[in-house]
Symmetry: C2
Subunit: 204 residues, 2 copies
């Protein structure tokens, strides 16, 4: 039987919606999903570890990676670069393993161009008010940064029409269950399985 | 917020694949899914209850239902009529509840014509050999009936290209989990949720 390629799962959504928290909770569950680590030039937040949460890079280092085509996507977002190193993603998919990318909206749309067969999930806050509270609650941002983020968030919500699925992050454990269900369902999609079953019809 | 319509979920697949067993196991789980009861002219098998497993009808009664357009679909299959009474299905969907139909392949394709937005799941045996063993294992069929069923099954497998999902019935509990995941994932589909979230962008 032909080896199935892995699924590329892209988890995205507005800044502050909780992509990192949801992805972190998903990692703690027993699944076969692999995790991509992004590169970024932003400063590490407390508790973030280089090579685990992100590869933290200088602007010079990051621009070198862009030049050498080592990034699946990259974007500048609120003054910092974010990007996805491409090699690990391709290797994982070719091995038949699923891989999840947790990335900003701009980057997700670029990945869509290169992997139209990917599974694109948009993580939504229960409301924009809730989104604002979460950003303020982080306590590390100025009023100006918050307002800028809110404007960006409205634009990003408008971008959800480019995604396959919308998962509300009303509770982290519920969001994680929905994402796991989406991955299982995608593996059951007829267009992904038809080749496997065509063989069955030939054999008695 | 607009009331979402329920999902019409159609579970189908070759005769003998275990549609009834899987559907029965799904019923025992805690879900919000409603169950449609089919009408049929075939004889009840041991343990089957009228109005629960099927509405058992005479040929005259069934043909009266066809004439009065009371069936969403109907088909003649290995000498018997099978059909889905339409009223309960429509009421359930309008109430915002999901409903599952467990029907033969011919009937499923007719439902697809009337409900293209339905979620069509094809239940597959792990192999045709396994399918034969299960039919023989039932112990109630002649060799001729079995061979006829096998030919029909090959045609039905060929029909899987008309479905959205293919669920392998290798283990009943795994098949049930996959179906539950498909239902959750379908509720997260962007095209089903976009209207709900458009409101969010307008409100601060």
């Amino acid at each position: 039987m032909k080896k199935e390629k892995g699924l590329l799962i892209v988890l995205s959504g507005p800044a502050g919606v909780g992509k990192g928290t949801v992805c972190g909770a998903l990692r703690k569950e027993e699944t076969d999903i692999q995790y991509s680590v992004s590169a970024t030039t932003r400063q590490p937040r407390e508790g973030e570890v280089n090579g685990v949460n992100y590869f933290f890079k200088s602007r010079d280092q990051f621009e070198e990676m862009i030049k050498n085509d080592q990034l699946l996507e990259w974007a500048e977002y609120v003054g910092n670069y974010y990007g996805t190193p491409v090699d690990y993603v391709r290797q994982t998919l070719d091995n038949g393993q699923d891989i999840i990318l947790e990335i900003e909206v701009q980057g997700a749309l670029k990945v869509r161009e290169k992997f139209p067969e990917g599974v694109f999930i948009f993580l939504m806050p229960p409301s924009l008010a809730e989104l604002r509270a979460r950003i303020v609650g982080r306590g590390t941002e100025t009023e100006e940064v918050i307002n800028k983020r809110m404007t960006v968030a409205r634009e990003e919500i408008d971008m959800m029409k480019k995604y396959d699925y919308v998962v509300e992050n009303d509770q982290v454990d519920l969001a994680v269950d929905r994402i796991k269900s989406i991955v299982i369902a995608e593996h059951c999609k007829r267009e992904r399985l038809i080749e496997k079953y065509k063989e069955l019809v030939e054999v008695d």
